[in-house]
């Protein structure tokens, strides 16, 4: 029981981290129709910038300044990169962001090297807030959970209750009409891209101390973010939230379960063969759920694409 409660908390933490990344990506995708392969690279930049700033000004200034720099960099990429490539169609845009991801990774290696960075959570949050059974819950994780929730509420408010939000939503569906009404749609695009990358930056700042700050961190998280927005439904903030939490809990419970596929085979009345090398199911006999946990989100994505291609909350086709 203790393990279930602690897994719920851990899954919530991981899910909300995914949400901070996927919310920006899903907005960018639905607005420009381009999959931003470099999105996770901005997450990495956030962590590295915050690490560098925290060396001089401390963690909290890093949390404040690093996402701003990342957001400005993102807006710059949209204004001077993507917008020029846009006229040639979606494929060049895709290739552009892909190249950008590689470039950012190489730049990070060039300036900071291959080593892990000793990016630490602030001293004030370095204690166990409470324990469930023997398992401690660090205060920093609780702080992260509340920060993410605050960001979600703020984002939801801006998108649904303010004038800016309405223009963005309108530009999502009818960009030509909105432009005809006298709104500067390219500026809206640039703003959304900047805010989206800044959100990824915040995720990087917060996740860097927990998940490690190293040149491979973008690659590790990159693909799962795409899975999240496909499952959630493109362009839907609620969908991104639901899918993130779903994946967070799915991977957490899978990794901590002790389910063995041998039990399943036994249940179906099969017996473990004496000579494994002859059995065509030999891999299944020795497989455990934690071993394949990280693949589960991808299986879920395939199922969603087959049975509900719009995603959980989406309105548009993929």
């Amino acid at each position: 029981m203790d393990l279930v409660v602690i897994n719920l908390i851990d899954g919530l933490f991981y899910g909300l981290l995914l949400f901070m990344l996927s919310s920006g990506l899903t907005l960018i995708f639905s607005m420009m129709g381009v999959l931003n392969f470099a999105h996770a690279s901005f997450y990495m930049l956030g962590a590295y910038f915050a690490y560098q700033i925290s060396m001089y000004l401390g963690f909290w200034m890093g949390l404040l300044i690093a996402p701003l720099i990342v957001g400005i960099a993102g807006a710059g990429v949209e204004r001077y990169g993507l917008r020029r490539v846009h006229q040639y169609g979606h494929v060049p845009e895709l290739i552009f962001t892909f190249g950008l991801a590689l470039l950012i990774e190489e730049l990070v290696k060039f300036f900071w090297g291959n080593n892990l960075m000793a990016y630490q959570e602030p001293e004030i949050l370095k204690f166990a807030l409470f324990s469930v059974g023997a398992n401690a819950v660090p205060a920093y994780k609780v702080f992260m959970i509340f920060t993410s929730i605050a960001i979600f509420v703020g984002l939801l408010y801006v998108l649904t209750r303010t004038r800016v939000g309405m223009i963005i939503q309108a530009a999502l569906s009818y960009p030509r009409t909105v432009e005809a009404l006298g709104h500067n749609v390219p500026l809206v695009f640039m703003g959304v891209f900047g805010v989206g990358t800044a959100l990824a930056g915040v995720a990087g700042v917060l996740a860097g101390p927990v998940l490690g700050t190293f040149p491979g961190m973008a690659f590790v998280l990159g693909s799962i973010v795409f899975v999240t927005i496909v499952i959630g439904g493109l362009g839907s903030l609620w969908g991104a939230l639901a899918a993130s939490l779903l994946l967070g809990w799915l991977t957490t419970f899978a990794a901590s379960s002790s389910f063995q596929f041998a039990d399943l085979l036994n249940f179906f009345g099969m017996t473990r063969p004496e000579d494994m090398s002859e059995s065509y199911l030999r891999d299944l006999w020795s497989l455990t759920l934690p071993q394949i946990g990280p693949i589960l989100p991808y299986i879920l994505m395939v199922l969603i694409l087959v049975f509900r291609p719009y995603g959980l909350f989406g309105k548009r086709d993929v």
């Binding site: 203790d2 393990l3 602690i6 897994n7 851990d10 933490f13 991981y14 090297g113 291959n114 080593n115 892990l116 960075m117 000793a118 990016y119 630490q120 166990a128 324990s131 059974g133 023997a134 398992n135 401690a136 660090p138 927990v210 998940l211 490690g212 190293f214 040149p215 491979g216 961190m217 590790v220 998280l221 799962i224 991977t251 957490t252 419970f253 899978a254 990794a255 901590s256 002790s258 455990t288 934690p290 071993q291 946990g293 990280p294």
Partner: protein, 413 residues
Amino acid sequence: MKRTIKLGLGAALALSVSATAVLAENVKIAFIDPLSGPFATTGTNGLAEFQFAAEELVNKKGGVLGGTNFEVIGLDNKMDGKESLINLQVAIDQGVHYIVQGNSSGIAHALTEAVNKHNRRNPDSQVLFLNYSAVDPALTNEKCNFWHFRFDANADIKMDALTDVIVQNDAINKVYLIGQDYSFGKAVAAAAERDLGAKKNTVEIVGNELHPIGKVKDFTPYARKIVASGADAVITGNWGSDMVGLGKAIIEAGFKGPIYTYYAASNGITRTFGEAGAGTINLVGEGSINPSSSPEVDEYIAAFEAKYPDHDIAQPRIVNVIRMLAMAIDEAGTATDVAKVASALEGMEADNFWGGKIKMREQDHQAIQDVYVMQQTAGVKHTLDNSEFGLETVVKVENASADMPTTCEMERP
């Protein structure tokens, strides 16, 4: 005028001849390991250690064979088997007789096979393979050959030493095994299970788990299971970011016992663990620098850190490779007839630079030396990663596994 030109030409000719003569005389050692890509840190660190050891311990002390210098050439294998074989060919074409490699046992297998084949077919340009880090036991067992020498303690020897320490500790009754899902991770788990079962069957293995290598984003769920299992100690063969992610998650989850590891130091790992790792992260390896065995060692480390501030003495065995090779060449009286050098090297007993003795076992070419279990701690003399933390010896196992059996049946030329 004419005479001056003649004189000048003659002098230039003489100089160039002597210059090539000096170059040709250098004993070249080809270092085949990743110098670019994700594993470049380990590779560049190793190359620096080799070059420094050759310069300080051989060239500055008069070289070998009465004045010949060592020269270490770095070749980038990009952590790839095929690339390594090309590098081997490049090295042989340049007249190299000694290659050193260490990262990845998979590549070591490819190289040892290629070297064996090459030496059989080309008796005039034979090479020796000095393995300084690939720890798959098979390399000195069923896959052994006369041209391969291993200077690191292999995975079985390290586990033997580690389990010795665990069974002597009465506070450890439950052990959790976790590792990366590939050959090395599985080998570590299998060795731990075998050794613990044989030595003290009251030690219970409460978990034996493999996770996908380099794919896990958040290790917290694994850590929760470890804490919930009531384990007193954790054993893992993880390396790189998988090591840091796992270690941090376990410590943050409130685990208080020791975490026994193979590779949790240097390359930013020590620094990242910092205070949290102190007293918790343990590492089994050969060659401990805290406390050091002699003032000579202290001087050597200080000089290395002064020359390479971004690198550490992360692989102490490299010094033994260079020193024992120099001794073997001197004993054989030749640097080009490697069969003679190999014969001098096998069975050689020498002073280990890091303390104690080191013996290159004759029957399988596995170095037998003291193995240490060390712990991350602050306030040691020689720190790692430019941090205030380093590794300090907890237990020393002298001549670890000197009598470990081997299945090696070596064919000698």
